[in-house]
């Protein structure tokens, strides 16, 4: 087991190393930030001066080594635009993204699993068919378009909810959160729905497919034959059996939702990390782009690593298969 963990850990470290090179070179191949950070009215002298200030006059490998050296000390560099450490910049906006993502993934999971189980349990009822139709829509309709319609309906026409931005915040454990305040919560509703819709469709499908397969298995047949009530069957057997894939997907989705929040945050002007990265791409603030991508890669490598470990714990065949 220990050997398996070490092997997977080394693999993860290797992947991170490769990712750092790819991300660094990739981002540094995008345009020339000088043309963007300095105004078009600037003279050649000012231009050269700026290039020197940003360290862009050094060769690429030297820039990478400096970056790597700093990275190993936990320093991801300073933003070109704000001249403050990138980690501080991202850290300051992480709570906004986190609360949005958590609220939408959790509500999508709770609602999606409930609806999905029902649709799988009574597949021919009209309710199930409606649920599935909604899930096809949720799956198909591009999320930015849903965002537009939500704004048009609830913010512009009805005027019930704010069109964008983050509301009032309170400090809890030294971090600013907006969901506990009335004003803050009203701001979070629309973007959370927008972000949740795709996940909801996915959870419905997952839960429905799982339920349909499990309901046809012998376990359920025996349970029914043994005279257990339908409610007990659902609770004891079904939920238990479908929970494993759902938890896996929940973990994976948490990560991808963090990334997908880019679109929602842009539409709703939500001051989170996703908005930051879009803005940074716009102004080619390289350190922020690199740091963000490396952090996302790190997140995914970590999630994969943890999932591998969990599977290995559950299923001994995995670790034998991997080490052979």
């Amino acid at each position: 087991m220990l050997g398996f963990i070490i092997q997977r850990f080394l693999q993860a470290v290797g992947v991170m190393a490769v990712m750092s090179v790819i991300v660094f070179c990739g981002v540094y191949a995008i345009g020339n930030p000088i043309d963007i950070v300095i105004p078009p009215e600037a003279t050649e002298e000012i231009r050269q001066e700026a290039i020197r200030r940003l360290g862009l006059d050094r060769p690429l490998y030297e820039q990478y080594l400096i970056f790597l050296g700093n990275l190993l000390q936990g320093d991801l560099g300073r933003s070109f635009v704000y001249n403050i450490p990138v980690l501080e910049l991202i850290g300051g906006r992480l709570p906004a993204t986190l609360e949005l993502v958590l609220i939408s993934v959790i509500s999508a999971t709770v609602a999606g699993v409930t609806l999905g189980i029902y649709a799988g349990y009574r597949p021919d009822s009209w309710v199930a068919k409606t649920i599935m139709a909604v899930s096809v829509l949720g799956f198909s309709v591009p999320s930015f378009w849903v965002g537009l319609i939500l704004i048009l309906t609830f913010a512009v026409n009805l005027g019930w909810l704010p069109a964008g931005g983050r509301g009032d915040t309170v400090q809890i454990w030294g971090v600013e959160w907006s969901f506990p305040t009335v004003n803050g919560f009203s701001h979070i509703i629309l973007p959370a729905i927008n972000l949740a819709l795709f996940k909801l469709a996915m959870m419905i499908r997952l839960a429905r497919a799982g339920t349909r397969e499990i309901m046809l298995t012998d376990t359920i047949k025996f349970a029914r034959a043994a005279g257990l009530s339908e409610g007990t069957i659902l609770r004891r057997h079904l939920l238990k059996l479908i929970s494993i894939p759902i938890i896996t997907v929940f973990g994976l989705e948490l990560g991808s939702t963090l990334a997908f929040a880019v679109v929602t945050e842009t539409i709703f002007s939500w001051p989170g990390v996703g908005k930051l990265i879009i803005d940074s791409i716009g102004v080619l603030d390289r350190p922020v782009m690199v740091a963000y991508l490396i952090l996302v890669a790190f997140l995914f490598v970590t999630i994969n690593f943890v999932i591998d470990l969990v599977f290995a714990l559950i299923d001994p065949r995995v670790r034998h298969g991997a080490s052979s």
Binding site: W145, L148, L152, L252, F260, V262, V263, L293, V296, F300
Partner: protein, 293 residues
């Protein structure tokens, strides 16, 4: 079932049992036709500047413009007839979706089958890469690549391919791997049949059904992803608007009540994507033996 006995005939007959799927298929075909014949059926060529008049700009649906005909869906800020712009936009969106879909299909299938057939280190390398990429969100990857390559059709397709080929590779690999393990392939490999024949005759046909399913879904995804990128300002140039670009151009006018500029292209986009997905769903269900009762 009817007397048709060929596999395709049976498949078709089963497909026809689902009325919604048939309806969706008709819509998809209709939209492709609209895109193909956009230049004939559109009341106006929205890209010919000599045809446009600024005096007609931002008019609501039903306005009779200086061209003498009615703008059924209104006009955009440049005085373009929105209906025509949607037809032409449909053409660009479908083009990009199909192109990205087929290129990813080719690259992905090749990699997947190669990994399954060759095995060993190459297999491990390819599949590790594919798995890693699959866990990474496609939208983010496409975003960075578009930023990297710059604006333009080819660049956009490149980004979409990079974001999507892994799905095809995974699918082809899964199907080919399952088939590779079977005795008859082992036997075929042992005989002096050429590698190409083994792959073409035995591996590829077995990969086809799941690949068709993935392809339908991915084409719909490409179209949606392209629209999203265009909306974020990273897609095509404004003067060559896809549906996503039309939506994006009209977005600022939403607050002042001129909804049609953005809403109608959006409706067209959604009908297209939903229809493709419904067709894809039905095909998937038919290929999935476990759900057969």
């Amino acid at each position: 079932m009817s007397g048709q006995s060929t596999p395709i005939g049976l498949f078709w007959a089963e497909f026809c049992e689902n009325k919604i799927a048939v309806f969706a298929l008709i819509i998809v075909v209709l939209m492709i036709l609209l895109a193909l014949f956009a230049s004939i059926i559109s009341p106006q060529n929205p890209y010919d500047l000599a045809n446009l008049s600024l005096m007609d700009s931002r008019r609501p649906p039903g306005f009779v413009g200086s061209g003498g005909y009615t703008h059924v869906l209104g006009t955009d800020p440049q005085g373009r007839d929105l209906l025509s712009a949607i037809f032409y936009g449909l053409r660009i969106s479908i083009q990009i979706g199909l192109a990205a879909g087929f290129v990813s299909l080719t690259i992905g299938t090749t990699l997947g089958i190669l990994a399954a057939y060759v095995g060993g280190r190459i297999e491990a390398l390819i599949m590790r890469l594919v798995d890693l990429q699959l866990s990474f969100p496609a939208i983010l990857l496409a975003l960075v690549i578009v930023a990297l390559l710059g604006q333009g059709k080819a660049q956009l397709i490149g980004a979409l391919v990079a974001a999507q080929y892994a799905y095809f590779a995974r699918t082809a690999y899964g199907a080919a791997k399952a088939e590779r393990g079977k005795d008859y392939i082992e036997a075929a490999v042992a005989t002096p049949l050429s590698t190409r024949l083994v792959i073409l005759r035995h591996l590829l046909p077995n990969c086809t059904p799941p690949l068709i399913v993935v392809a339908t879904v991915q084409i719909a995804n490409s179209i949606s992803l392209e629209a999203t990128l265009s909306f974020l300002g990273l897609g095509l140039p404004v003067t060559e608007p896809s549906l996503g670009m039309l939506i994006s151009n009209g977005f600022p006018y939403m607050m002042s009540g001129r909804y049609w500029i953005s809403v109608y292209p959006g409706v067209a986009l959604i009908i297209l994507i939903v229809a493709i997905n419904i067709v894809g769903d039905q095909v998937r269900d038919q290929f999935n033996p476990r759900l057969r009762r």
